[in-house]
């Protein structure tokens, strides 16, 4: 769960780059796109302030400065660029020592904030010049032997410019809480996991009608037929309701039942193979249907050629909830390459391609729409000390959409957004 918190930090600083949370518990940190400021130094750096015998605190601060080529995600002819700066502060406290956890009960609390500023003479950009984005997280886990228990909560506020400069910013307050119970009878060959997740997603601005609450129950059973390889059966049932009126959104009860393989297939390669059935169960309007529409596929392979490098490739087929339609079918392919060099350099390059086929669009003038979405991110940081780094980063977001419209002119949903940054920070 701590790793999930790390994911949120990346999400926070990514801003426009939609992070991809194809994270797997335990191996997490697989974030596609521009990577936020580092949370910890690369390698085996032992950092942190030992507040007491059992309390360890990490603190950090960083700044990024660069250029955003397209603040409002507009087409190439109307793109407005601006200088951009981001500064971040965070603190993280856990009951641990530099050598690791100090007890069976593990507690982690984290809080921080990012300040983003567009520096431009363009009045349209100036309206969205400043944004404060705080975040916080809490995780508690305990477990030994047969039973394990975990509680986690993460909160984040994000604020992004809208697609149209005359609109208000898209501000989002997202809180996700979860409770998990794990049971491993016998020698741990069989493991059962039950988890409840609650998400409150408050949206301000043009998308406020999408403010929602999601309750999700997950039941997972796995049989570990090798020490780090298991076959599993997973059932996830969601309950999505919308809190604003009026809203075109309808309640839905997404169900996913999957089975497959998780774990190592060689010493250096781990895979996730999940195949199964899914259904959106939207209470009105379009809903998932057909063989492909009811099929869920998640394939992922993680290769660690050396102890300092990691390659992840993956593919996913399924559906996702959408704010401009009931949902969209999606085909996603992604890849990530992480390399540490000489325990000083940290390189991260990743990208993904998503094909989105929207179903049940709320705009009556656009009955059909498909998007080809590309995302690319690259960062390289040099750790001057194990607590100080300097680096550069690049992010690309691009959309190539096709909209079928009943009006003479179809809306243009294509854009290319590029960001470059130099960054400097400390994390201890």
């Amino acid at each position: 769960m701590n790793r999930r918190l790390a994911l949120w930090t990346v999400l926070l600083t990514t801003t426009a780059a939609s992070p991809l949370a194809f994270a797997q518990q335990g191996q997490g940190e697989v974030t596609i796109g521009y990577q936020g400021l580092p949370y910890k130094a690369s390698g085996e750096a032992k950092t942190g302030i030992q507040v007491s015998d059992t309390v360890l605190m990490h603190v950090g601060a960083g700044a990024e400065a660069g250029y955003d080529s397209n603040v409002f995600y507009e087409d190439a002819a109307n793109a407005r660029g601006s200088a951009i700066m981001r500064t971040s502060l965070f603190a993280d406290v856990s009951n641990a020592t530099r050598a690791g956890a100090s007890g069976k009960l593990m507690l982690n609390a984290r809080a921080g904030a990012t300040y983003r500023r567009y520096q431009s003479d363009d009045p349209a950009v100036q309206r969205f010049q400043n944004a404060w984005m705080p975040f916080a997280g809490l995780a508690l886990t305990t477990g030994s032997g047969q039973f394990g228990f975990g509680l986690a909560d993460t909160f984040i506020r994000t604020e992004e410019p809208p697609y149209n400069p005359v609109q208000v910013p898209i501000a989002r307050y997202n809180n996700q809480a979860s409770a998990e119970l794990r049971w491993s009878p016998g020698g741990g060959r069989l493991t059962g996991t039950a988890r409840y997740t609650n998400m409150l997603d408050f949206i301000q601005g043009s998308y406020s009608y999408g403010t929602s609450m999601t309750n999700q129950i997950m039941l997972d059973g796995s049989w570990r037929w090798l020490p780090k390889t298991a076959v599993f059966l997973n059932l996830t049932q969601g309950f999505v309701t919308y809190l604003e009126e009026p809203t075109p959104k309808v309640p839905s009860y997404p169900l996913r039942i999957t089975t497959g393989l998780r774990g190592l297939i060689t010493e250096k390669t781990s895979v996730v193979v999940a195949l199964g059935y899914n259904n959106g169960f939207y209470s009105s309007g379009a809903t998932t249907n057909g063989f492909l529409g009811s099929t869920f596929v998640d394939l992922s392979a993680t290769l660690r050629p050396t102890m300092l490098s990691r390659i992840v490739v993956g593919y996913r087929h399924g559906f996702e909830n959408s704010l401009i339609s009931n949902f969209y079918y999606t085909e996603t392919a992604y890849a990530s390459y992480v390399q540490q060099i000489a325990n000083r350099f940290a390189l991260d390059i990743s990208g993904r391609y998503m094909f989105k086929d929207y179903q049940g669009l709320y705009d009556p003038t656009t009955p059909a729409r498909t998007d080809n979405f590309f995302q690319l991110g690259g960062t390289i940081d040099y750790f001057v000390r194990n607590w100080m780094y300097a680096g550069v980063g690049y992010a690309l977001l691009a959309n190539d959409g096709e909209v079928t419209a009943t009006t003479p002119t179809a809306p243009d949903v294509n854009y290319i957004k590029q960001q470059v940054f130099v960054r400097l920070g400390i994390t201890y």
């Binding site: 999930r4 518990q25 997603d201 796995s222």
Partner: protein, 192 residues
Amino acid sequence: MVNAKALLTTTFVASTVFAQGPAPTPIAPPSAGGAVDISVKQRPTLTPEEMVNQAKDYGRNMTEVLKRTQTLQDQAKREKDIIRLNCVTDKVVQVRVNISIAEQSVAALQEAVMRADEGERTHEFTRLTIVNQKVQVLGAEAENCIGEDLSFVGATRIDIEVDPNIPQYDPTLPPAPGIDIERPGEASPLTG
């Protein structure tokens, strides 16, 4: 026959004389004025008071050795190191016995001092010195007692060496909790 015997006897005697070589120079007798003491000193030159004080120092040193060996004994008990404990206990017992002897000698020494019995006083002081040296040796031996760590193989232990390439996390766990949120798509009538 008589002549042959005489010749043989003469020959042996002459050979003996030649083998001795020249006679050594006689040592001059000590003169009364320039005395050189080459005898081994048999008696201490300490005064009675100095002997008593020295005996007290010996007593303190031996008591310190006893305390130290008892500490070592307690340490071995705590560590449940039976082999070392036996060794140290043996030294403690011997130190106590020697201290007992030393106490008797101190008492006898003080009596001899009071009686001005030089012979007895010297005897008891010598005995006390020897006992003290023995206690110091016992103390050193107690420090060097070896325990299980070297002489006892201990319980069977299994060392597992895991290939460092194998990740430490558990990849069989289900995905971490969390629901993805991402920037909504653009929709002109609703979002401009």
